[in-house]
Amino acid sequence: MLAITSLQVPKDNSANLPDGGASNHCEDACSPPPDRPIRYTELPADGIRLAVSDGVSNTSFSGIWAALLVRAYVTGGIEEQLSTYRLEWWDRVTTGWPNLAGTPLKKARTGAAATMLGLSLTPTVGESLAAWRADACGDSCLVLVRKGQAILKFPLEQASQFNRMPPSIRTGEFKKDAANPATENEPAPLVGCTTGSVEPGDIFLLMTDALAKWFYTEQEEGGQPWAELGALTGPGEFEQWATENRTAGKIENDDVTLVLAEFVKEAPHERVL
């Protein structure tokens, strides 16, 4: 059985609101979305694709771009149809905010950016359960846990590699009166790729940067962070866990997204979603 669970907690914006209230504005995106757990007894013949993306917060409308990148990856169009998604981003911004002017318009025209990590699982004939392939740009990370060991960390391998300027996929600039975004200086969208075979019991964790950095740090200090995350039974516990770790200074106040894909005989416990 393959059990897939997505969990997400937006950053705590209360310090940014004069009245101290809460805001659920989130610039992370993932597939499957947080409210749709998936259980497969067998992988579909054409495989499945999972993704997390983190909108770069110093660019505008980056949450929309993150959601589009996730959709582009899971529908197989991230390389070939990126220009279409770029135009869709601009269309959504100008349709959703038709009165954009001044600095918000100027900043929107400079485009949005997001990091992305995608995992593709396809059935195989033979001994392994499936083949996997991961593609990444930036500091959204994949960890593969096998037999109680984190045997793969991708694309970053150490907590010290996280920084404020990760590579990202950009929409390009939308200059006034130009039909298409200026993307001539934009690098190829996905800069890293790695592949492997799935074995029974394998656990894949797809994480955006704040969670991944916490995970790497805990593991480097001898912990088993996958066990801590795996024990969380649903969004309520995950939110409480994130809040406690933010308060303790262990995890940065940022949007936190986890997609957990577990190849198990039976779902380890029923997550209340």
Partner: protein, 258 residues
Amino acid sequence: MARATRKTPGCVLFLLDCSSSMYGEKSENLAKCVNETIQEFISVCTNGAETLDRFHIGAIRYGNETGNAIEIDNPSDFLQPVSALEQMLLPEDPSEIRQWVKARAGGGTPMKEAFEIAYGILEKWTGEHPDSPRPTVINVTDGQANDLVGTQAEAEKLRSMKTADGEVFVFNIHISENKSTSVVLPTEAAMQKMDLGRESEFANGLFKMSSELTNEMVTLAETVFPGKDQPKPGAKGFAFNAQLTWLPKLFQIGTMAG
């Protein structure tokens, strides 16, 4: 270092020498750099359709007319939240840099009065925002203050004010069009070695009025001013005979305090 948020906004106050010696390229460049810095703050605070009031910004000009350098309905409102600045002078073409501050030159150099006004503004502001990042005051001049001793006393008073994050950060930039010996972000030891001739007294006065750079500012300064005279730990927010082209870099470093 405290973080600038809407609940605990940061504060940047410019003191701008508009005396007659600033006429021409100096006042024009200064106004341009201040306006670009204001635009950059607005841009950084803009997320999507909203400009979040994470910073309050103001500018005092001193010369034959000392007062608010930003023309607003109520000139005694010196510090403006970035969203209010965003709503001013909205251009049709958003790529155009607005002239919140205009180039002006005339009269003497009443720097002391500017520091006095700054004290009044920040006394009120720090009282209202006790948990905010330390406010930043950036003073740009090209010449001798009318009353250096009085100015030093006012600057000392200003620097003694604080938020929970620390004392007011004072950055003094002396600009010059000449290729005279320049000093950028010096330590006490470096300052003692400099021979600035007849300008030494004024330069040392401004140096004493300036705050020490934080480690983060020194690190940034090392990047923007590469070379053998790189700023070192213990360096102060002070420049003398700085070239006009250095202003954006110096503003970038100075505005890091908050």
